[in-house]
């Protein structure tokens, strides 16, 4: 019997998950919403990260990505950014009007978004394209490793790197806030906001990895940045398309809303300012959404790279 390969199983599972999701969403009473949310998130997490990590080759590629990021100058940029963040908290903590801790928290979260966005896009945009440009993929493909395993290994390695660096930043940021304003001013929403950012970065990495199988670094950087901006404007696009009367443009707007990722799901900064809270279910649901979107993106990346001639840039 012919051995079924990892990528084939992976793509079949992703399509099945999409199919099941569509069925369950069309019939709301089929499964209690809460259990369904947990189930989806857990299954998707296993699918996106745990199952591939059982593959030794994917693990080796992911490890090499992490090693590269740690050894690059990136780490020094992060250290510099951490010092800057702590400095901002202390300076603005003294001069900001009104709710100082809210103002400083928002400022820090905005800074972290910018850092994560630049770091995530730049790192993932170069992931596959750089392999082709530097021709390191030539040697790699002379080994019994499939192109799909390379894409998956790069994705997992980049997600682990960006999550690790975001974790370090978040810990330093939260500790600085605690030291400056004390534990009584600490809001759980701040922690949720940091988690939301990490989920957002994972999604950005998935999109950038997929497009890096096709586009050069600069084009990819611009493309992913546009997606990021559009993804944050879903509410505005919904509003505009709702007011439109011309059918083709309205349909195009609705189509765009279906395709682009909804990044507003992970943005809790405004809620923090308004004193609102987010429940764990919403957070898990957003995580599930990001995982499913990432799985679809990475599957697409695997399919594109499968037939890509690696010497044509």
């Amino acid at each position: 019997m012919k051995k079924i390969k990892f990528p084939a199983i992976y793509i079949v599972i992703v399509i099945s998950m999409l199919f099941i999701t569509c069925i369950l969403q069309s019939k709301p009473g089929l499964m209690p919403e809460l259990y369904w949310t947990y189930f989806k998130a857990a299954a998707l997490f296993a699918l996106v990260f745990l199952v591939p990590l059982f593959n030794r080759k994917i693990r080796a590629i992911a490890q090499s990505v992490l090693k590269e990021e740690i050894r690059k100058k990136t780490l020094y940029v992060i250290l510099f950014f951490m010092v800057l963040l702590v400095g901002i908290i202390h300076i603005f903590g003294k001069i900001a009007p009104g709710n100082q801790h809210i103002f400083v928290s928002e400022l820090g979260l905005s800074g972290m978004t910018m850092f994560g966005l630049l770091f995530g896009i730049f790192m993932a945009s170069t992931a596959i394209y750089k392999e082709m440009e530097k021709k390191t993929v030539y040697v790699m493909l002379s080994y019994p490793v499939s192109r799909q395993e390379i894409v998956m290994g790069k994705f997992i390695g980049n997600v682990i790197s960006v999550t690790l660096f975001s974790c370090i930043l978040s810990v330093v940021f939260i500790l600085s806030l605690l030291l400056r304003f004390g534990f009584e001013k600490f809001e759980l929403m701040l922690l949720y906001s940091c988690i939301g950012l990490m989920i957002e970065f994972m999604l950005i990495v998935a999109i950038a990895i997929t497009t890096s199988t096709l586009l050069s670094t600069i084009s990819n950087f611009i493309f992913v940045f546009i997606i990021f901006v559009l993804g944050h404007m879903t509410e505005q696009i919904t509003h505009i398309t709702g007011r439109l009367e011309a059918d083709p443009i309205k349909s195009a707007g609705n189509m765009l809303l279906k395709i682009i990722p909804d990044f507003s799901r992970f943005e809790f900064k405004d809620m923090l300012n308004l004193g609102q809270t987010v429940d764990v279910n919403t957070l898990i649901s957003s995580f599930g959404y990001a995982l499913l979107y990432s799985a679809v993106m990475v599957s697409m990346g695997m399919l594109i790279f499968r037939k890509r001639e690696v010497d044509r840039l």
Binding site: K57, K135, V139, S142, D311
Partner: protein, 285 residues
């Protein structure tokens, strides 16, 4: 003898964005490489040597025709376990050291940890990089980069070794060492396919060669057969004095031949250089 590589009517056309033919890099190539031989692909720049290697590795796909490596397609994973590839330049991760690079490729080849560690020690010793094993590859000289490239091939211990310009950029000693390793591979029954434009190098180590020009096969055969000038005879003797050489000339004329040249055989510059340097390094040590 069994063919390790079989290429039939292979054609590779590079196309532009609008799918119009741009370059015909390989045009109807038929080639076979037998088990246990060193086969050289020769040709000027743009003759299709590197494209052929890329097609053999499955980096690009044929426009038409077929390639079989040990009876299967180059994209087959089982086939890749038996192929080793050393590119023209060191296309390895510069941020890793020699130990880490070989460990990484060992993992990609699904080698068990114990065997991997043992083999890494062996191949580093063989290519002379044991002392530099903890240095990052980006800090290596060109010669050292070639050696680590060869080490990742040897680590796999493949049946078929593909080498793209294996000695380019190396000093004569390094070049000789690489050639000795290639000959060693043949002695162990491995098949080697190398592409090169250094004709002297190909002549000394290859059993058979193919000459490509503009993607087409111009000539193929055993090096000895292709280089033999069948209407001339070479006589090498020792211990003859000047007068006796004259007698030999007369004898040749008497037999109806035409003596073209008489002189002393010469060493190649490479062998003289290698001999002198080895003598010197032997004295110093």
């Amino acid at each position: 003898m069994e063919n390790v590589i079989e290429i039939k009517s292979l054609k590779k056309v590079y196309r532009d964005f609008w799918n119009r033919p741009k370059v015909v890099a390989v045009d109807g190539l038929d080639l076979s490489v037998r088990r246990g031989e060193i086969f050289g692909i020769l040709g000027p720049n743009g003759s299709g040597k590197t494209t052929t290697l890329k097609l053999l590795l499955g980096l690009i796909f044929p426009s038409s025709g077929s390639i079989k490596i040990m009876g299967v397609s180059p994209e087959n994973m089982e086939c890749k376990k038996n192929i080793g590839y050393m590119p023209e330049e060191s296309y390895l991760y510069g941020f890793l050291n020699a130990d880490e690079i070989l460990d990484f490729y060992g993992k990609l080849n699904a080698m068990p940890e114990k065997l991997r560690k043992k083999r890494i020690d062996e191949v580093l010793d063989l290519v002379g990089l044991t002392e530099a094993r903890k240095r990052r590859v980006e800090d290596y000289s060109k010669g050292m980069s070639r050696r680590i490239g060869l080490a990742q091939v040897l680590l796999k211990d493949p049946e078929l070794v593909l080498l793209d310009e294996p000695t380019i950029g190396l000093d004569p000693i390094g070049s000789r060492e690489i050639k000795d390793i290639i000959k060693g591979l043949k002695d162990r029954g491995k098949t080697v396919l190398l592409s090169s434009h250094l004709l002297a190098e190909v002549q000394t180590i290859c059993d058979r060669i193919a000459i490509l020009y503009r993607g087409k096969l111009v000539e193929e055969g055993r090096v000895e057969d292709l280089l033999t000038v069948s209407n001339e005879t070479e006589i090498i003797t020792s211990g003859l004095k000047t007068g006796e050489v004259e007698k030999l000339k007369e004898l040749v004329n008497k037999l109806g031949g035409n003596l073209i040249s008489v002189g002393h055989p010469k060493e190649t510059l490479e062998s003289l250089f290698v001999k002198l340097i080895r003598e010197k390094s032997g004295k110093d040590s």
